[in-house]
Amino acid sequence: MLFFSYFKDLVGKEVTVELKNDLAIRGTLHSVDQYLNIKLENTRVVDQDKYPHMLSVRNCFIRGSVVRYVQLPPEGVDVDLLHDATRREARGG
């Protein structure tokens, strides 16, 4: 559940989600669940000309299984905290 908790802390931040079909979407992280399904608000597609059908999509739900990367703001990563949490998780909570 580490990454679920981690993503929950990123709610409200601006992220870019790159999908396995190469579509990259930037938006404000609205929420995330245990499957790492993601909901984004105020979305815009990075390569808009290639995906004209996405023009009028403002909010979207992305199925966790199709996500390749999530690009985060640098200040969204507390390395020490993540480090500690990882060790705690590895020891078995």
């Binding site: 979407i25 609205h30 995330v32 399904n37 059908h53 996405m54 403002r58 199709v66």
Partner: protein
């Protein structure tokens, strides 16, 4: 099983906040379906009422009516809420008939196939 309250729906990742709204569903094979979400579950299986497929070939597009569709969740890539205030597509795109879009689709497919065979024939040149 307990039902989430109205206020939780809008905070959660579930599709509940999209119920009865017009959505764009992007599938893994690149198809784009549009319709009104009537039901869903935890796998993102979804029921779309009045579904249609939007076929886009270059600057041409066509909405092909499908009816009531049940989509298996594993095929879903993205479910987007359509902002009805905004233009659905850029203004330079033209709506054409179903027959015309099928023709354009076929032409595009043949062009890609041809590109593939040409490339194969040129392989001995060791391009790239």
């Amino acid at each position: 099983m307990s039902w989430a309250g109205q206020e939780d729906i809008y905070l959660s990742t579930s599709l509940a906040s999209y119920l009865d709204k017009k959505l764009l569903v992007l599938l893994r094979d690149g198809r784009k379906l549009m319709g009104i979400l009537r039901s869903f579950d935890q796998f993102a299986n979804a029921v779309l009422e009045g579904a249609c497929e939007r076929v886009i070939v270059g600057d041409l597009y066509c909405d092909i009516h499908l009816g009531l569709y049940v989509i298996r969740g594993e095929n879903v890539v993205l479910i987007g809420e359509l902002d009805l205030e905004r233009e659905e597509l850029p203004p330079h795109m033209t709506r054409v008939s179903e027959a015309e879009i099928k023709r354009a689709q076929k032409a595009e497919r043949e062009a890609t196939d041809l590109k593939g065979t040409m490339r194969k024939r040129m392989e001995f040149l060791d391009l790239d």
